[in-house]
Symmetry: C2
Subunit: 207 residues, 2 copies
Amino acid sequence: MSFLPKTIEKLIETFQKLPGIGPKTAGRLTFYLLHMPQEALDNFSRNIADLKKTVVYCSICSNIAETDPCSICDDITRDIKTVCVVENPIEILSIEKTGKYKGVYHVLHGAINPLNNIGPDELKIEQLLKRISSGNIREIILATNLNMEGEATAMYIKREILNIKSKNENLNGISITRLAHGLPVGADLEYADEVTLSHALEGRREF
Amino acid sequence: MSFLPKTIEKLIETFQKLPGIGPKTAGRLTFYLLHMPQEALDNFSRNIADLKKTVVYCSICSNIAETDPCSICDDITRDIKTVCVVENPIEILSIEKTGKYKGVYHVLHGAINPLNNIGPDELKIEQLLKRISSGNIREIILATNLNMEGEATAMYIKREILNIKSKNENLNGISITRLAHGLPVGADLEYADEVTLSHALEGRREF
């Protein structure tokens, strides 16, 4: 590919480092940008350089935000007694889009993953437990992902919460829940995998 | 999504404008970049801003390049008597990767598309015809895409070449070819569409 201008090669290489972008897509994106006016490129360039400059972490929920506390923790209309624990800020985006959740969040910034050397200390679990110890919380929704790491993290956090509950009578009222697992909307029973189907059976409800 | 920091929202919006990137991917890319060190972001940012700054168009083949003539036109080991006509520079990338082509190129920068107001005058067809008129060319490979626009462009160029050939005896030796159309490697006859299959039949060769 040495016949390409260096600036183009460099951008293709950079795009390739992003998740889900292979050499073909990287090339397509770069050549697409070549057709954009310089002004748009300058804007794009500035957006990337400034990305982290105004971003802080909320000292309550560890979410990324522009202010501390973040706009969700600072919102008096939200129910601060219900805390939804997620692995990453992007998952808050998905939950907020449903418009069904009025509680607050706690971002772990990852999941326990021994293979990648990520233990409980690398996550914001200590902060979560402190938040719980302070009282005032009624429900912890463990919304980590439904994979090995997410399940392990949920189990670890549950054990830790039960642990501090056993030492502090004021925390007895806290319930620990997990998002319902089952068939997604539009799913066809025939094609559902067995794990999903067992979850759907176990979690069946009065109709 | 108003709870997101503005810099993040802006970058998600920018990513969404790129081809093949929807809201989910745009979010994923942006949150991925959040984890990158500022230095890497600055590099990425600079790559985008500088993308077009050192890029020129080759005055011979209209390819994007750092020098004029481009490194391909300037390469004395290449066969300048064979010209492969492509719609866009990115297609040169694909052909170069095969390592099978030793000729030179001509980039049209698009295809005839009446619906988008792109006629022959918007493309580098005039330059191609001039290049042919100068003599010295033995074969023109029309490597435009195998869709309506690409086919129309190939047909138009073929007619124009025949037209200048009829006026200039020196050009009689020029042959006009088109890339072979047929079944791709690994294709299953059962799943091939009928157009591809007809092309494969029409283009069958002695085995």
